[in-house]
């Protein structure tokens, strides 16, 4: 299904997933914001050294998840568009070491002597 200029796959009823490139990521988030999407949270994960982030939104009582495969461990922050993304971006930086460009993010959960505990080295 094509919506908000993205190709969505309906994995389950009212739960849509779409992959987005790093290049188109911020524009895709801006399009969702314009469509009055509510930002729920973001999930970072690592699989065999490759980092992914899943961004979860709700629009008109349906769930839309944008997922992105990171080439480098760096991505643009969306907290200028969605202020509530601030905490989850800080958490992802602490737990996985992924950096969000354009801002210095203070730690959220961990003491300074613990570094990226969720990462599989």
């Amino acid at each position: 299904m094509k919506k908000y200029n993205l190709n969505w796959v309906e994995e389950r009823p009212k739960k849509f997933y779409a992959e987005v490139s790093e290049k188109d990521f911020i524009n895709a988030v801006k399009r969702l914001y314009k469509a009055k999407a509510r930002f729920i949270t973001a999930t970072a994960c690592q699989n065999s050294g490759q980092m992914y982030i899943f961004y979860h939104f709700e629009i008109s009582k349906a769930l839309y998840t944008l997922w992105i495969s990171l080439k480098q461990e760096k991505i643009e922050s969306i907290s200028d568009i969605y202020p509530t993304a601030n905490w989850i971006e800080r958490e992802i930086t602490e737990l996985y070491g992924i950096k969000f460009s354009g801002k210095f993010l203070e730690p959220l959960l961990l003491t300074p002597d613990i570094k990226t505990p969720f990462r599989n080295e």
């Binding site: 509510r38 930002f39 729920i40 949270t41 899943f54 202020p83 905490w87 505990p117």
Partner: protein
């Protein structure tokens, strides 16, 4: 009046705050200019731990994220696993899950209302609230065998049946009468109204911008409730589609809304017990087979939308479990609603959001 900016640190060990966290406040002339929340005292690495245990072992783990909403976490988790594995629980199991979830919501709201009414000096209500809470816990013990941790949810159903719904219905009716009396006491109390009206206002626009959830959002006039928007368990069959909302967005609205939700929850429990369908409580032989996939479990916890996102791979353990509790979003509203308020009112305003740090920090 002293016009210098004072920096005050509330917490982590402070009688004003029930849980360990810090609020950094900049105060000038008795008014709060700026407030920031600092976390990091209760992080236990639950999400990381979940990848080290199999899907069934995680049922016990997720219940221990929080003591106020332990069943709700396990309900969201089984929702995510059953979504990934395409398992649909039997109808009787879904009704039992609804009943326990609502009794837990009652417990959470009643306990929180006891604390906040004590903060307001509304001492006549506190003994009645604790009697109500004790009655609630007794029902939970009868239904699940536990008062705080229940461990009756499993993948494909529940582990314990309700043998005598009529006996439980009688107890629920008696508690409902007490709850109505307490609600009336609060409605008539002018002091409570005076203290909390117009305090800590979160406007609808700000609430939408911040994406707050649950009673905090509904008290600001937002029509949002996962039980109605995205029905799970037996809510589609039972629930009245009308939202309970108030427009004030202040502390009074956030408190009074929970009284209204208590009455609604009693109604849901009574309907679920009356309409409890016959049948199995678990799918015989239901099993989660290792496969690559994703699943989302989303429930209306006492504090709002609880979101579990599961990624599965070809092993018996989750590849990733993400838990987004409601307080994680609602706490970010603290810095906005404290601005411009009196420093002495900070505790009441923070408490009115009903924050849960065990959930937030996992």
């Amino acid at each position: 009046m002293n016009k210098k900016i004072k920096i005050i640190k509330l917490g982590p060990k402070q009688t004003e705050l029930e849980e360990p966290f810090v609020v950094h406040i900049e105060e000038k002339a008795g008014k709060i200019k700026k407030a920031e929340v600092e976390l990091g005292f209760l992080h236990r690495g639950i999400e990381r731990l979940a990848t080290k245990k199999n899907f069934y072992q995680n049922l016990g783990l997720v219940e221990r994220i929080c003591g106020y909403c332990s069943f709700t976490h396990s309900l969201a988790y089984v929702g995510a696993v059953e979504d990934a594995a395409e398992i649909v629980s039997p109808a009787r199991a879904r009704y039992i899950r609804t009943i326990v979830a609502e009794i837990e919501r009652l417990h959470s709201h009643i306990l929180w209302l006891s604390i906040i009414t004590e903060n307001l000096g509304f001492k006549s209500v506190i003994p009645k609230m604790f009697t109500l809470r004790e009655g609630n816990l007794a029902i939970l013990q009868e239904v699940t065998g536990g008062r705080i941790m229940y461990e009756i949810n499993t993948i494909g159903g529940v582990l314990k049946d309700i043998k005598d719904p009529k006996k439980i219905l009688k107890k629920v009716d008696s508690l409902l009468n007490t709850a109505k009396k307490v609600k009336e006491l609060f409605e008539k109390d002018k002091k409570a109204l005076e203290i909390t009206k117009g305090l800590g206002v979160l406007t609808k626009d700000m609430a939408l911008e911040l994406g707050v959830v649950g009673p905090t959002a509904r008290a600001s006039g937002i029509l949002m409730d996962v039980r109605k928007d995205f029905p799970y368990a037996a809510y589609k069959e039972i629930l009245n589609p009308n939202y309970i909302t108030l427009k004030g967005g202040d502390c009074y609205s956030r408190i009074y809304l929970r009284f209204l939700e208590i009455i609604e929850s009693f109604g849901i429990i009574k309907k679920a017990l009356t309409d409890l369908p016959n049948g199995e409580i678990i799918i015989p032989g239901a099993k989660v087979f290792p496969q690559i996939g994703v699943g989302i479990g989303r429930v209306e916890a006492p504090r709002g939308e609880l979101f579990h996102f599961l990624i599965t791979d070809s092993t018996n353990n989750p590849a990733r479990l993400k838990v987004r509790p409601p307080s994680y979003v609602n706490l970010q509203a603290i810095k906005y609603i404290l601005e411009g308020e009196d420093r002495e009112k900070a505790q009441t305003i923070i408490s009115s959001l009903d924050p849960c740090f065990s959930c937030t920090e996992r």
